[in-house]
């Protein structure tokens, strides 16, 4: 029994189950005891969404930073050009279909949440892509780059088009410049511990974002690139070796599990959707991404090819359709975007449920792969 608990924990962490478990508890709780749920959620929202989630985004950034090293999917940077172009088309088509859908479903006010249609859950998409295509298929880096670019566009859209938040970008920019200057100085001084980066630069960056009216959960994103990292990329979502000495790997080793706990609480605090609050507009987001992403990926790829870029080897239109479904999974990032954009109330509930429903893209990706004979179904 004593041995079973760590095993169970390890299984949950390895299979990214803590966030869905938190979300499932939230869904049951809010529909059984809404007042108790909201009291808990309101008390925990700030520390979980603004501080705890900073660890999660730091870990995601760590993967991206390492991907710029030799052997990484972002090395050299120009490899990202094609997926970036495809991401622009894929997110734009998804957002347009989302806006059209919420208008057709008679909840036009939901259109203000259009940046949520940009979200792609990096971890779940990667997991699904690997299950369909295997670790070595050229689709994998393409999916990762597409997901990173889509989320980056989403963050940009939220920063620029937030419906209620007022931005004070100049003040924030000055403080952020100081945070980055300190991180740079630490790097030049060859500081090997991640703590000064996180505690000094990270804290200043957090304050800069909060002061700007931007989401402070991204505080460690501009800091992580300054942490010394391994000379070569060990691979996406490959755990750092326990004896790794570089600051970025040490950060991951120390914060991997707290990051997962933060994700559990993120699901718990944000995924509570009272079913009675839902109206037809709930379907806007699933329709937007389940139709828009495959379509957008095809349109974007066609434009990129027309512009003279080349699709990776073994990536044809059938694989692109499957990729479209894979990157339609918004889940955690869609929940985050929705929480960042919308205050509590019916709209947030509807978009949150829509974010949960985007998980339907995973079985659709498997189904399309099977029908189109892609990846593991090609034999």
């Amino acid at each position: 029994m004593r041995a079973a608990v760590p095993q169970l924990w390890h299984f949950a962490v390895e299979h990214l189950l803590l966030l869905p478990i938190g979300a499932a508890i939230a869904l049951v709780w809010v529909n059984v005891d809404p007042e108790g749920y909201y009291r808990m959620a309101y008390a925990l929202t700030f520390p979980v969404n603004n501080i705890g989630l900073a660890v999660f985004f730091a870990l995601m950034t760590k993967e991206v930073v390492e991907a710029t090293a030799p052997d990484g999917v972002l090395h050299p940077w120009r490899r990202a050009l094609l997926p970036a172009i495809v991401a622009v088309a894929a997110t734009a088509v998804s957002a347009l279909i989302f806006v059209g859908a919420v208008n057709a479903l008679d909840e036009p006010v939901l259109a203000i949440a259009w940046p949520v249609a940009f979200a792609t859950d990096l971890a779940v998409s990667y997991l699904v892509a690997r299950l369909i295509f295997g670790r070595q298929h050229p689709v994998i880096p393409f999916v990762l780059l597409l997901a990173i670019a889509s989320d980056a566009l989403g963050f940009l859209a939220i920063a620029l088009f937030h419906p209620t938040e007022e931005h004070h970008l100049m003040q924030g920019a000055a403080i952020m410049a100081a945070a980055i200057a300190i991180a740079l100085a630490l790097r030049r001084a060859r500081v090997k511990s991640y703590w000064p980066y996180v505690l000094v630069s990270g804290a200043l960056s957090w304050y800069a974002l909060w002061r700007s009216g931007l989401h402070p959960a991204l505080a460690l994103v501009p800091v992580m690139p300054f942490l010394p990292h391994a000379p070569r990329d060990p691979g996406f979502f490959v755990d750092a070796s326990p004896d790794a000495v570089d600051a970025l790997s040490r950060f991951e080793i120390s914060w991997r599990h707290p990051g997962q706990i933060a994700l559990f609480f993120f699901g718990l605090v944000n995924a509570g959707v009272p079913f009675r609050a839902l109206e037809a507009g709930t379907w806007g987001l699933p329709i937007g991404v389940l139709v828009g992403r495959p379509l957008g990926v095809l349109v974007g790829s066609s434009l990129a090819v027309a512009a003279g870029l080349h699709l990776p080897h073994r990536l044809g239109w059938r694989e692109l359709v499957v990729v479209g479904f894979i990157v339609a999974i918004g889940f955690s990032i869609a929940l985050f975007f929705s929480s960042a954009l919308l205050p509590p109330g019916q709209l947030r509930s509807e978009i949150h449920m829509g974010a949960l429903l985007t998980l339907a893209a995973a079985p659709l990706a498997f189904l399309s792969a099977r029908v189109l004979r892609c990846g593991r179904f090609s034999r």
């Binding site: 809404p34 007042e35 909201y38 009291r39 309101y42 008679d106 909840e107 036009p108 006010v109 939901l110 203000i112 419906p163 209620t164 938040e165 007022e166 009272p274 009675r276 609050a277 109206e279 507009g281 919308l342 205050p343 509590p344 109330g345 019916q346 709209l347 509930s349």
Partner: protein
């Protein structure tokens, strides 16, 4: 501290008058004229929610409002959101607002809207809704200060504004209205508890007297909740027949037909009636103004 009582119509003394009275009662007129004092110096207003369908029931409710207006000359209509369903083109504004309420608009009755989840955000700029481009705003009529809120996007900035605006208000009555009900016992949506936890402490802190909401397509009067009177009036166009699940919180309810409300604030008393599309008074009463918390 407060009381709510049903107002009973007095019995007419003589038979001929009784016959006339009976006939009038059948038309839904008597109870209205009896229940509302209709004083010359009072604040009179009507309440409609979830009205903008453009369908026949909306027009029939509007006709009933016009009929009431001829005897009870309210000069204000508060709109609880979902003022427009479906298309919201200039033509729709004619079919779903200007035409049904043409007689009231011609009589210079002012509509003061709040928005619901089916309204387009840009409707704040529609002149006849008198929102002046604001999602939330306040105004005064006599001794009543009204606060029209946007419950669809209840962001921290709006909550801060409400807290400050309520604090600054000096009027006898503080009436808030918005789309999503903090208390409702209709089965489709019910109470918006997420919003209740945000708004109720502010209402209690500043002694809000009465709250009107829509969203659930029924009429419900709640028993005072922590001293505040709540009404759900979301059936001035839409209707969810049989959707009410009255419980201990419910003081009165009506879910068999479309409805609207008439309200009169006379000094320290607020008289109200809920009237069906057919003109029947389905609920009526008077609220005595609550004492304010000492600030």
């Amino acid at each position: 501290m407060f009381s709510v009582s049903r107002v009973k119509p007095s019995k007419p003394p003589v038979v001929p008058i009784a016959l006339i009275v009976t006939a009038l009662a059948c038309a839904g007129v008597l109870a209205q004229s009896v229940a509302l004092p209709n004083r010359s110096d009072s604040v009179k207003f009507a309440v409609i929610g979830d009205n903008g369908t453009g369908d026949r029931p909306q027009y029939e409710v509007a006709r009933q409002m016009t009929s009431s207006h001829s005897k009870f000359p309210f000069d204000l209509v508060i709109m609880l959101g979902d003022n427009m369903y479906g298309g919201q083109t200039p033509n729709d504004f004619v079919n779903k607002f200007q035409q049904p309420y043409a007689a009231l608009l011609a009589a210079n009755v002012k509509f003061q809207a709040s928005l619901g989840n089916h309204d387009r955000p840009e409707n704040v700029s529609y002149e006849a809704f008198n929102m002046k481009g604001q999602r939330y705003y306040t105004y005064v009529r006599g001794n009543v200060r009204f606060f029209a809120l946007d419950s669809t996007l209840m962001d921290p900035k709006q909550l801060e504004w409400l807290d400050a605006a309520l604090k600054d208000s000096r009027e006898d009555w503080r009436v808030c209205y918005f789309h999503h009900p903090l208390y409702s016992n209709a089965s489709r949506h019910g109470s918006s508890i997420d919003l209740r936890l945000l708004l109720e402490p502010i209402f209690l802190k500043h002694g809000v007297n009465v709250v009107f909401s829509g969203h659930d397509h029924v009429y419900e009067r709640l028993k005072p909740q922590k001293g505040i009177h709540y009404f759900v009036s979301g059936a001035a166009g839409q209707l969810r027949k049989g959707n009410m699940r009255p419980n201990d919180q419910t003081a009165a309810s009506f879910d068999q037909d479309q409805s609207f409300m008439l309200v009169e604030v006379a000094g320290a008393a607020m008289y109200f009636q809920a009237i069906s599309r057919a003109g029947q008074v389905v609920d009526a009463g008077v609220i005595n103004r609550q004492l304010r918390p000492v600030s």
